[in-house]
Symmetry: C2
Subunit: 150 residues, 2 copies
DNA sequence: ATAAATAAAGACTATTTTATCTTTTTTCAA
DNA sequence: TTGAAAAAAGATAAAATAGTCTTTATTTAT
């Protein structure tokens, strides 16, 4: 479905939205641990997210780290996918034809178009903050470990 | 979305369903040309489809080639995905968590579950023959070339 | 029986994706 | 103004996917 890069990008962004802020920046070690992802690889992905679409903000040095601006929180989830070059899921043909269109539909197009429209809707209408809110709820999880009993 | 293997597998299967039969078996060269796929690689994929789930049938030697049995035509499209090990699209978590369940949902689960259900429905309720029928209609295409003006 | 046609099998190569490690730059605090 | 903390940048490595090529086995027709 999505690449590892996209999965880590989404999980990391959600975690930063949930736990970080301009005066509580999060370090790469904390983030990678929190979302069960390889640290150095996640660092690369966060670089992409800071460079593209302004999804994530960062500052270096002591007390530096990653956080989201208020504007970033309002971005659609699609902005995260785009930042890591993974929005093909809502643009491409399910059978891999070079274009997906009504004028040259593949045999699955008629059925898939509705699903594709819903995927697009989901990724475009949902904001990063929406996911963070969701994530704040009771049993919602973002990693592969046991639910925190706290 | 899907791997190249899965895309070629679907396109090849549809083409064989459409043009082949027990007494008109299709050669790998014809198939690969018809669906715009790399020939040797497509051959490998057809091997998988003949070994797994009985999706495709084949015979070697002169007048040999690939075709679909009547039983195969009635298989759900999912059988093709399974045969190439690509049914994760209807089983896995969109954020890459190890399990997707109501008891440990990720922040996108609530929204994605409906889409996932529709994907499953599409791949399980649609048969290979259904796609071939679709493909027989006017403008439906299965490769990247111009529409045959005939 | 032999030769030709064909898929199957296996070995190999190339490319992309995933992941790690090292060095550099920036920032802050002492 | 120096040292440490952090991300950025860059180089490298490993693994997975995509793709090719060669050899073998099977089948058919002569
Ligand atoms: S053309 Fe294949 S999904 Fe639209
Ligand atoms: S848990 Fe993520 S989609 Fe179900």
């Amino acid at each position: 479905m999505l690449s590892k890069s996209a999965e880590y990008a989404l999980r990391a962004t959600i975690y930063i939205a949930l736990k970080g802020s301009e005066d509580n920046k999060l370090g790469i070690d904390e983030i990678a641990t929190a979302i069960d992802s390889p640290q150095s690889f996640t660092a690369k992905i966060l670089q992409l997210l800071t460079k593209n679409n302004g999804v994530v903000s960062s500052v270096r040095g002591p007390n530096g780290g990653f956080y989201l601006t208020d504007a970033a929180r309002k971005l659609p989830v699609r902005a995260v996918l785009e930042a890591v070059g993974e929005d093909g899921i809502i643009t491409k043909c399910v059978l891999g034809l070079k274009e997906c269109s009504e004028s040259r539909p593949c045999p699955m197009h008629e059925q898939y178009r509705y699903i594709k429209a819903q995927l697009r809707q989901m990724f475009e209408k949902t904001t990063i903050q929406d996911l963070a809110n969701e994530s704040g709820k009771g049993k919602i999880v973002i990693n592969n470990r046991q639910i925190k009993t706290k």
